[in-house]
Amino acid sequence: MDQAARETDSKQVAGLLAEFDGPQALKAAASGVREAGYTRFEAYSPFPVHGIDAAMGRRRTLLPWLVLGGGIAGGLGALLLQWWTNAVDYPYLISGKPWFSLPANIPVVFEAIILLSALAAFGGGLALSGLPELFHPLLSCARFRRATTDGFFLGIDASDPQFDESRTAALLRSLGAGETELYDRPRTEQKVPRPLVMAVVVAACLALLPPLWIARVRATRSASPRLHLVSDMDFQPKYLPQQSSPLFGDGRAMRPPVEGTMAVDQRGDDPHLLRGEVEGQPATTFPVAVTSDRMKRGRSRYDIYCATCHGLAGDGDGITSQLAFEREEPKWVRPLSVHSQVVRDQPVGQLFQTISDGIRTMPGYSSQISVEDRWAVVLYVLALQRGRHATLEDVPTELRRHLDTALQGDARTPDTER
């Protein structure tokens, strides 16, 4: 016998391997070994031998339950994800349908159930089979290589309490084994070379640098523009203002207006009317006639262009501003109240300039509101200021009687009366 001729160290023996003729013989042998009281043994065959689990006294696998768990997790997870992302955190309005409409969420739920169940079946199937297990004593046994082609083997582990080299071999032969063979543990522990371990450690540490760098950049502020890995349409082959160009004789990309070009509203050169200036200083008087009609015109323009931010009464509480505060827009600057002392101290020319050219985050309105209308808005702003800070003395004597009845009669304010 092989094992008799061989010098064996009993500590080196991992188990005993016996070959059988075919699946039926293997099944019978498995049954016999089990009846002899062995527990740590395994049958090996090139294809599944049905009924051998019962012969070996093995229980059914837990795998179907794992797969069920995977499927439930996938379905619930997908449902939760869709509900949270599309109905709560960022509600999508789609054709007026409810925020959370189950039928439209079914395809993703279905696919997630399949995906997670399949991953559970694959991962669970391997894990329950003890795979991957790249090193096993049997794999270095030459005879055993036929187990994946046409060999039927029974292996009894040396750690089995019943294991005894000669008695176990005798038992297997009595069960019809052809050849029996002891197989050993690997003689030398194969160790991974130290330089390789170091290289892996160093590479793993270096691999941490990019995510750390990204995390740092995400958490800190920087004055330099963001990096462009792909420039998309940020940089286009076109001329920007003030750039040079070889196309023209003067080397400038920006072209001067054609000779004789006139600005749209360049009526003469009246700095008072057009720029609100008198001798380089903001004008203190109106260049247009101050009339009741003009003030009404100013109110209509103010309500269209200004009130969304400044509020109908000029308090700086327009609907846009309210919304911006509600949404905590980081860059929003609250519009000034026209009733604040800073604004009240401004001469009309300066108000005109602010409306025309804008200030801080407020854009200029010279392209949308005509010159006359801008002065009308200035006039209306003055009226708002005057109305807010008026005293009884400002009201003509013959009208004070109406004021009393108005205040006593109902709660109407001048604002709603407009």
């Binding site: 090139p46 599944p48 439209a104 696919e111 055993f144 792909v230 998309d232």
Partner: protein, 467 residues
């Protein structure tokens, strides 16, 4: 009555069970037949020729895709009004091809059709490679491909989430799930066979690489028990999955309002068409492969005969769907729908429509004749024509519907560009490159499964199984 020849297993004889494997194969010879293909030190010259051509075409695909990415999607023929041109035609074509692989490996497995064992491995491989080819097209035709990760639901600084109620997102989820599950199913089934290759390996490299992917498989009873459960469960999961995938693909069309697309018949119609085209591709690949690699005793004429019957059956389903479409267009009373179908059959794309009907409905009727089902060159020719017809079907659905929809002033024709052609041809290159590599290095037939269906009198008999 004359005796049935031993090597003919296509004849139906109720007194005997037709053998699934021909010749005097036993356990060792099955291993030998399958493994020696992957173990030859040098494949024949014709393999190199085929591989070189395929790799060159794949290079063409990558060059076209690279050019597309760098330049923009203007290099394709997609333009108003046909914004979905060849890329989506090719995508639906390839994803459909994949379905037959899953049908053979999962659905036939659940129905205990044991003849599937010889062809399931390479049908599954075909699925996987077809899904890979399909995945190229939607990915590159979105334009800014480097932002394709926006499709994934991840917390981002834009505070946006993807819209989960869009068929296009369902498509992403379905295709990626299908690709993943197909790969798992294919790989799991291959582990025992990879272990066979590992144990037969003569060089250290082969032993290491096959050993790595065999994960230490030893064929123990415990492992087989878990393996069979995992395989059965994966088959049970892949079956509803494969039906869902092409249904979801059809939602891309059916949920839109374009005449010719907006119809409830699309999901079953697409699934039937997908299995039809996939079976044709299996025959297209199997006929040359079995002759070339000497697998005629494992992939027998009966397998091909069965595949051809499947093609015939699904061809009838597809023909029925074409008929129902036309009937619905008339019976539905919607003038746009009616026009869409009149335009398909009589309009500028009538040639495509009638080519489709000829290839998909008329030609496969030849399979009623037994001679056509069992003669390799005839079935190969029919299968190739079916592939052509199924590509035309997607072309007709997409291009003829978009080319002429509601507003006559925005009608237009579709003109493919050289890049379009290169990408289509290149995708075949990619498919055959992967397939040739598979044939060269991996077990083409599921050896362990075939061993379990060998006749009991060949060598060691498998345990009798009653199920």
């Amino acid at each position: 009555m004359t005796a049935i020849p031993v090597d003919d297993n296509t004849v139906q004889d109720p007194t005997r069970r037709a053998p699934l494997v021909l010749g005097d194969a036993d356990l060792a010879s099955v291993t030998q037949t399958v493994c020696e293909i992957a173990e030859r030190p040098r494949p024949p010259t014709s393999w190199y020729v085929a591989f070189a051509v395929s790799v060159a075409l794949t290079g063409g695909l990558f060059a076209a895709v690279g050019y597309l990415i760098v330049t923009g999607i203007g290099v394709l023929g997609n333009n108003s009004p046909v914004y979905w041109g060849w890329p989506i035609v090719n995508f639906v074509f390839w994803i459909g091809i994949g379905h037959a692989g899953t049908l053979i490996s999962a659905i036939l497995f659940l129905f205990r059709q044991r003849w599937r064992t010889s062809i399931n491995r390479f049908a599954e491989a075909m699925t996987l490679f077809a899904v890979a080819c399909a995945g190229v097209f939607p990915a590159v035709h979105v334009g800014r491909i480097w932002l394709v990760y926006w499709l994934a639901p991840y917390p981002n600084q834009m505070d946006l989430w993807p819209n989960f109620r869009s068929p296009l997102l369902w498509d992403v989820v379905a295709i990626s799930t299908y690709g993943t599950v197909s790969a798992l199913f294919w790989y799991l089934g291959m582990i025992p066979d990879l272990a066979t290759l590992r144990d037969r390996a003569t060089s250290r490299w082969r032993q290491l690489l096959y050993g790595l992917f065999a994960l230490g498989w030893r064929g123990s009873a415990t492992q087989w028990h878990r393996f069979e459960w995992a395989y059965l469960l994966l088959a049970a999961l892949a079956t509803p999955l494969v039906l869902s995938v092409h249904s979801v693909v059809s939602f891309d069309f059916a949920v839109a309002q374009v005449p010719g697309w907006h119809t409830t018949i699309f999901p079953p119609y697409f699934v039937a068409g997908a299995i039809f085209s996939g079976c044709a591709m299996v025959v297209t690949l199997a006929v040359p492969a079995r002759a070339y690699f000497g697998l005629k005793s494992l992939i027998t004429m009966r397998h091909l005969d069965n595949m051809n019957k499947l093609i015939l059956g699904t061809s009838l389903l597809v023909g029925y769907a074409y008929g129902v479409e036309v009937f619905m267009a008339w019976y539905g009373g919607n003038m746009y729908e009616a026009f869409a179908f009149a335009n398909r059959a009589l309009g500028p794309y009538a040639w495509a429509y009638w080519l489709m009907v000829t290839c998909n409905v008329i030609v496969p009727q030849l399979f009623w004749i037994r001679k056509c089902r069992t003669t390799p060159w005839i079935m190969f020719l029919i299968a190739v024509l079916v592939n052509v017809g199924m590509w035309m079907e997607r072309f007709v659905i997409i291009v003829s519907s978009l080319g002429r929809d509601f507003l006559p002033s925005s009608w237009g024709m579709f003109k493919p560009t050289a890049v379009d052609v290169m990408m289509l041809v290149g995708s075949f290159g990619l498919f055959f490159t992967l397939f040739l590599l598979f044939c060269r290095y991996l077990p083409m037939v599921a050896m362990a499964e075939v061993k379990a269906v060998l006749p009991p009198d060949r060598g060691p008999a498998p345990a009798v199984e009653v199920d």
